[in-house]
Point group: C2
Chain length 258, copies 2
């Protein structure tokens, strides 16, 4: 049975201040929770129906504490519209990225991304394209926001997100001559730009783009051109769609060469 | 002032049966409503604050009926978390696509797409990549669902969505020798596949992919390969992300050739 206090704890994790106070985040749904149990993430509490526990078998034993409960109780505690058979409260991991992780591979860098769903979707896309580290400005959405966690669809087990002062990070990249790409409206057509196999790709906020304080630190301005008929108004790409097109373009180059 | 009956009408448009009964859909937010007023779509009712009407100027006159109201009233009627200064009720357009639109340009075809937000995001992406027509199976999400409308960010003014029996549509494509591409896990690496400038690209449902009844009608199976380290588990791409990568790959080919 899920106690009233536990329901309160679970639901409190929607807010960052409670996540920080408890050092916990919430993950929901059979697939995501199973992915987490199979990963290196630590599960403090697993709230699950008997049916889920049976299907998970020995894997459930990775949780430090298991509470068997009914689906009705899961529904009461859940933040989802369509709750499934389990909820997990997981320890927030502390990653200390190596210099190689930050500067010597392909890294996505997000300046002030606001929507947790976009952040989670970008993590899922990064996972697909073999990008293991994302650097976010400190004012970006929190990857442990339940909406971000759910949108990762399990990529949260594999993709690490680091929050950093981006000015200092990109200055160091410049000193190390790590190429810094950035998406700008006046950038070079990405389909006709020479891309590197490693480097940092900066994407800006959903509304205002990359902040002016970072612009001088970008060594390669790139742009996804619109293909709409000449003269026709066209809006913009969703940030997670732009991230996907850019990841595909970077990774696709080497695939095309083979 | 927005009457109680109008608030009821506005909020009822969240459900398809009321949209069909009224032949209206809801659009919210200053930018989207302005885009619609500038387009060929018909606005039956515009509910807006004085501030919005002042900024819209003569454009507001395109609405058949204008109701000036307070922001508090907009908030009461709105389906959004952060309502803005206006709401519009628009006539659902009836498009009759030409044969050229269906068979002689690049067309996206969605089999049983479920999430209205994904559909709206795909329309926005299509708009960017100069794809003006999308064909959906009849069991797909409704593009006039308010969540889809909002996610289009204005692309609803330019991109037409047609609901069709996909078996009949793709059979006709086969008869006309229009290439039919489809995204499959066992498809050919898209980066190494010859793509056409025109043709139909079929994307499957979020969970199960393309239905087995359509598979024999696909002439070119394609696949976006994962770039994750060998042996590492990787989930899948979000459907709107996959659509973006595929659109980029089709359109990027011609851009690279220049």
């Amino acid at each position: 049975m899920i106690s009233k206090n536990n329901i309160k704890l679970i639901r409190s994790l929607e807010l960052k201040k409670f996540r920080l106070a408890e050092n916990l985040f919430l993950a929901e749904g059979n697939k995501l929770v199973t992915d987490i149990l199979e990963s290196a993430l630590e599960v403090e509490f697993l709230f699950a129906t008997e049916a889920y526990l049976e299907s998970a078998g020995a894997l459930a034993g990775r949780a430090k504490s298991i509470v068997t409960c009914s689906h009705a109780e899961i529904r009461k505690a859940s933040l989802l519209k369509n709750p499934q058979q389990c909820l997990a409260l997981c320890r927030i991991p502390a990653y200390t990225p190596t210099e190689a992780q930050l500067f010597s591979q392909l890294v996505l860098c997000l300046d002030n991304i606001q929507d947790p769903g976009n952040l989670g979707t970008i993590m899922r896309t990064a996972d697909w394209f073999g990008i293991s580290d994302i650097v976010c400005s400190v004012d970006s959405a929190d990857l442990f926001n339940p909406k971000a966690v759910q949108a990762t669809m399990g990529a949260i087990c594999r993709v690490r997100v680091h929050y950093r002062d981006l000015t200092a990070y990109l200055e160091e990249a410049n000193q190390r001559q790590t190429p810094v790409f950035g998406a700008f409206l006046d950038g070079e057509n990405i389909y006709q730009t020479q891309l590197a196999d490693t480097g940092i790709v900066v994407l800006g906020n959903e509304g205002r783009g990359i902040g002016p304080e970072l612009t001088p630190l970008i060594s390669h301005k790139i742009h996804i051109p619109a293909f709409s008929p000449p003269g026709q108004k066209v809006e913009s790409l969703n940030i997670s769609v732009a991230a996907a097109v850019i990841c595909s373009e970077f990774r696709g180059r080497s695939a095309r060469r083979q």
